[in-house]
Point group: C2
Chain length 155, copies 2
Amino acid sequence: MSRFDQLPADTLFKALEAATPQDTLPATTTLLDAVRFNAEGLLPAIAQQYDTKEVLMMAWMTREALEETLSTHRVCYYSRSRKKLWRKGESSGQQQHLKSAALDCDGDTLLLQVDQTGPACHTGRRSCFYLSLTSDDATINSEPLIHPNELYGNR
Amino acid sequence: MSRFDQLPADTLFKALEAATPQDTLPATTTLLDAVRFNAEGLLPAIAQQYDTKEVLMMAWMTREALEETLSTHRVCYYSRSRKKLWRKGESSGQQQHLKSAALDCDGDTLLLQVDQTGPACHTGRRSCFYLSLTSDDATINSEPLIHPNELYGNR
């Protein structure tokens, strides 16, 4: 039992702001009831390589995708274009293995520490964030590790 | 001039997938015309401490907020609750200074490298991602650096 268990979902994250590492928190299922998925039922999830700390990508999860990720430790997103669960690497072979996950203070964003095999980006680059911007101009900041034709069998 | 300048906005990011660090890219204003802000005109922006690589927070930007951030180097978000521009630190004093910014492959997410003064989180913690989750249970993974009453003058 947790002293936070009896709180209504809409006040739970506010109450947890004052919690400490010593507190017993509600079970994950109770927290997921309170998570603020958006109007489409989606939560943004940031994937960070656990050892180098490089931010690899941001994608979206349904509750089902998040539950599968936490239980299998293989990262599963929801593809908004294909409208279905997307087990990262199922086409490209470049999987993400979950090391740890954390919600933010208001329960509407997730940060994943992952171990990414090869490139995270469908372009073959390690990270999706390869378009560097200044107030005036832009540059490409990295090159593919693998040609996308190799990743996706020249489809 | 860039060989990508004449492309319609809806195909620009696709065309840039094959660009290299040697390519001359369109001006930032042309890229911002193509950025895929959501239906509310917002873009998710991830803030990462530039030297330690800790992911501090995720918040939202309008085009105006992004342009201001790129030109002033002081990070400005859009507050969805207050419905106005939010210059990070304007209440708490805990500012974010921009080191660099990068868009992702499909132009719908931004990664900021910042130098964050003190805590990024309104709870006084360094990072907003303090609720660690496993498939079964949750724990608080960090304590405030500063009590929030000190950050916000006991409001």
